[in-house]
Amino acid sequence: MDHFPTNWGRPNYNTFDAHATYPLHVHPQPSSSADGVQHTQQPIVTGTSVLALKYKDGIMLAADNLASYGSLARFKGVQRLQAVGDYTIIGASGDMADFQYLQYILDNLIISEEINPQDGHKLGPSEVHEYLSQLLYARRSRMNPLWNSVLVGGFRDGQRFLAYVDLLGTTYKASTLATGYGAYIAQPLLRKAVEGKEDTLTEDEARKIMEDCLRVLFYRDARSINQYQIATISAAGASISGSLKLETSWGFAEGIRGYGGQTQ
């Protein structure tokens, strides 16, 4: 998983702007549309990692509240976790406009599939995930992708559900998942903390693991911020916390020697 949404779905191209430090609209566009309509696009305002894990009672998801514009921390109060129906929570990284469009689509889906019929046939997490996968795959097949990586967590009929889908329509399931930079930094930590303990981890323990991962991400991911939300979905239903603040300590920086601006 590439840390930079700008690079998702593209061939590796490291000679240009390898660290995504330039505003995204500066990125070179494909030359003018002389040879037809160009759907090709790039993410503009982006969210970074989303994390999720299975614990004893259900699924926990976490994401910070930042939407970046290139390297600019543009919007600092964005919610990237969203409940879909009664049994599902999704979390998205990548383009925030595309994510909001996804939310609009899913809201309408819930209206047409649950609220209008009122026949008790509600959409569970696996249905929502399949629908999203079909949608994203169809868009990529039209070469007009929705530039997101989405985690779908849910709980229904005593079953936990956790799966991934991205702008290519690629899907997979696992007991811990992370998008973006989190796939490199948080996923190993999550696997170590969760694998084999999915049925014993308590909510408090899971929350601690999430906070630790988010903290490491905040230390290392330049597109992250120390405000975040945590969502749980369990037999008790879906709940998304308010915006929380990460406790961080930078005292260790004093002890670091060997690079940077120290004079000694």
Binding site: M1, G9, R10, P11, Y13, T15, F16, D17, A18, H19, T21, Y22, H27, P28, Q29, P30, S31, H39, T40, Q41, Q42, S133, Y137, R140, S141, M143, P145, Y164, L168, G169, T170, T171, Y172, K173, A174, A183, Y184, Q187
Partner: protein, 253 residues
């Protein structure tokens, strides 16, 4: 400071609708059985996305399809093949024969000739004459019936091994003897498992788990299959061809 000189020339930053998700698949046909196997790791680059994503699917009681390449295309392709087979069942009240499924797959792949499914398919199963068969495909539909085939990330590691062990390439039979045309099931299973443990050892995209589908011809005795550890039956009836799946662990590093 990034090299801005590249901005001077025309740039191609096109959306790439494909990914390569690693893994390897393999199928071997016997006289009256076929074995189709795949590892269960799904990866992109150096990241393991999941340790369990099946690449081998039961289509009917006598046909099993393995898909390898771009996972999203693979899953979609399998789903579409399954729906075509369901329509065939509706129309004819029976399962589609293996060779017909093979041709169907070629047609469906070639229909996407200019925006291909980036998927290597291997179809294995039992023909109407009761023989084991393997069909292998390229992403745009070229196909042929073979006795064995490996595809995917570790194709270049596994196929030469199969050539040697199944086709007896570079082996000389003992004087007055000839190589067998078909191996017994127990030998084939050993070759399959060895192929994957070896590929796991030498290829970073192969590992985690192994799923082996075994299709037995109608009326063939189980001959030891029933004793295998972790065997699950997938067939819908006991008086026709029978499908079993066997799961094994592979190294996860």
């Amino acid at each position: 400071m990034p090299d801005m000189s590249v901005l001077a020339g025309p740039q191609q930053h096109q959306f790439n609708p494909y990914a390569e998700n690693g893994g390897t698949i393999l199928a071997i046909a016997g006289a009256d059985f076929t074995v189709v196997a795949g590892d269960t790791r799904q990866s992109e680059g150096y990241s393991i996305q999941t340790r369990y994503a099946p690449k081998v699917f039961r289509l009917t009681d006598r046909a099993v399809l393995a898909v390898n390449g771009f996972a999203a295309d693979g899953n979609m392709f399998v789903k579409k093949v399954k729906q075509r087979l369901e329509w065939y069942r509706h129309a004819h009240a029976k399962d589609m024969p293996l060779r017909a499924i093979a041709r169907l797959i070629q047609t469906m792949l070639y229909a996407q000739r200019f925006f291909p499914y980036y998927v290597y398919n291997i179809l294995g199963g039992i023909e109407e004459d009761g023989s084991g068969a393997v069909y292998s495909f390229d992403p745009v539909g070229s196909y042929e019936r073979e006795a064995c085939r490996a595809a995917g990330a570790a194709q270049s590691l596994v196929q030469p091994f199969l050539d040697n062990q199944i086709y007896f390439k570079n082996q000389t039979a003992a004087p007055g003897q000839s190589h067998p045309t078909h191996l017994p099931l127990s030998d084939v299973l050993s070759i399959v498992i060895d192929s994957f443990t070896s590929a796991t050892e030498r290829h970073i995209e192969v590992g985690d788990g192994l799923e082996i589908y075994i299709v037995l011809a109608k009326g063939r005795s189980l001959q030891g299959v029933e004793g295998l550890r972790g065997l699950r039956e997938m067939s819908s009836r006991e008086d026709g061809e029978r499908v079993f799946v066997l799961q094994r662990e592979l190294k996860k590093d």
